[in-house]
């Protein structure tokens, strides 16, 4: 990271589908047993008007970013071997269902440097991503803090 004038930059916008197959993969990766996470019939039986999504479903956008999940970090010039995820938070405004299409727009909201505990300078980057559904409603707002730890002396 060698650019400290990044705040306010719009990083990218990506549109992606909420697919049942990816929801099944997420459910398996999370060691979840409920079929309602990926099966229309089970979701309907549980009382849902479609297949609901995990709170961290926003990760699926990464498949559609040209640089993948690392695209953001690489675009910022961060060293991926020194990259840590500090914090994430989500606000849920409209429920998301399998079959929806979301558009994610990511902004950099701030960056700061701080002396790391193990020496070297840590860089913190704050990002905000808005996920709008195919009806134009803001469905999810996500905030992230990325940390590039100090380079070894």
């Amino acid at each position: 990271m060698n650019d400290d004038s990044v705040a306010g930059r719009v990083l990218e916008t990506v549109t992606f589908p909420i697919e049942r197959g990816k929801l099944y993969e997420l459910a398996r990766a999370f060691h979840e047993s409920s079929r309602a996470w990926y099966d229309d019939g089970a979701a309907a039986e549980a009382g849902f008007d479609g297949i609901p999504v995990p709170p961290t479903v926003t990760a699926l956008a990464d498949h559609w970013r040209p640089g993948g999940a690392l695209g953001t970090a690489l675009a910022l010039g961060l060293d991926i071997t020194r990259l840590l995820h500090g914090e994430s938070s989500w606000d849920y405004l409209v429920p998301v269902r399998a079959g929806d299409q979301l558009t994610a727009t990511t902004h950099i909201t701030g960056s700061t440097t701080r002396e790391g505990k193990r020496g070297g300078t840590m860089t913190l980057i704050m990002l905000e991503t808005e996920f709008t559904n195919h009806c134009g409603e803001l469905a999810i707002r996500r905030r992230d803090t990325l940390i590039e730890t100090g380079a070894p002396a």
Partner: protein, 142 residues
């Protein structure tokens, strides 16, 4: 207190009071295959999570889990308790790394309520007792 099927997913708000605890869950020991499965599912192909040689060359003791793996596991367990549509906000802070062989325990409890919502604080700990993730959520309650 009603009996809920372990794998049922609540579609409507659930009754929650201060001190109520989320059903405790344990996952693991985690393997590199678990990391790779999440890499494929979630799209995080940072090689520090699957390429052992690269991880060691970067000074790490091995590959380690992407934080969104256990943040995701905790999220679906929260949703299994409070209902996916009832979660208003979810916040996670990564406080430690998760390594192959780790066994993770997911716990949470209601720490506050108002007329229509409950605040839930949650932790993910490794078998050593070290917290690897601290989280909080605000959910709609019955």
């Amino acid at each position: 207190m009603s009996i809920i099927r372990a794998d049922a997913l609540p579609a409507t708000p659930v009754a929650l009071a201060v001190g109520d605890t989320m059903p405790e869950a344990t996952v693991g020991p985690l393997t590199r295959t678990d990391f790779v499965r999440y890499a494929g599912a979630g799209g995080d192909l940072n090689p520090v999570h699957h390429d052992e040689e690269l991880a060691r060359n970067a000074g790490l003791r091995s590959v380690f889990a992407m934080g969104m793996l256990h943040a995701g596991m905790l999220g679906t367990r929260l949703a299994g308790w409070a209902g996916p549509d009832n979660i208003r906000s979810y916040r996670v802070r990564f406080t430690g790394q998760v390594w192959p062989g780790d066994e993770l325990t997911f716990t949470g409890s209601v720490t506050g309520v108002d007329a229509s919502t409950a605040t839930i604080e949650m932790t993910v700990v490794r078998q050593t007792g070290e917290a690897v993730l601290k989280a909080a959520a605000v959910v709609r309650r019955a």
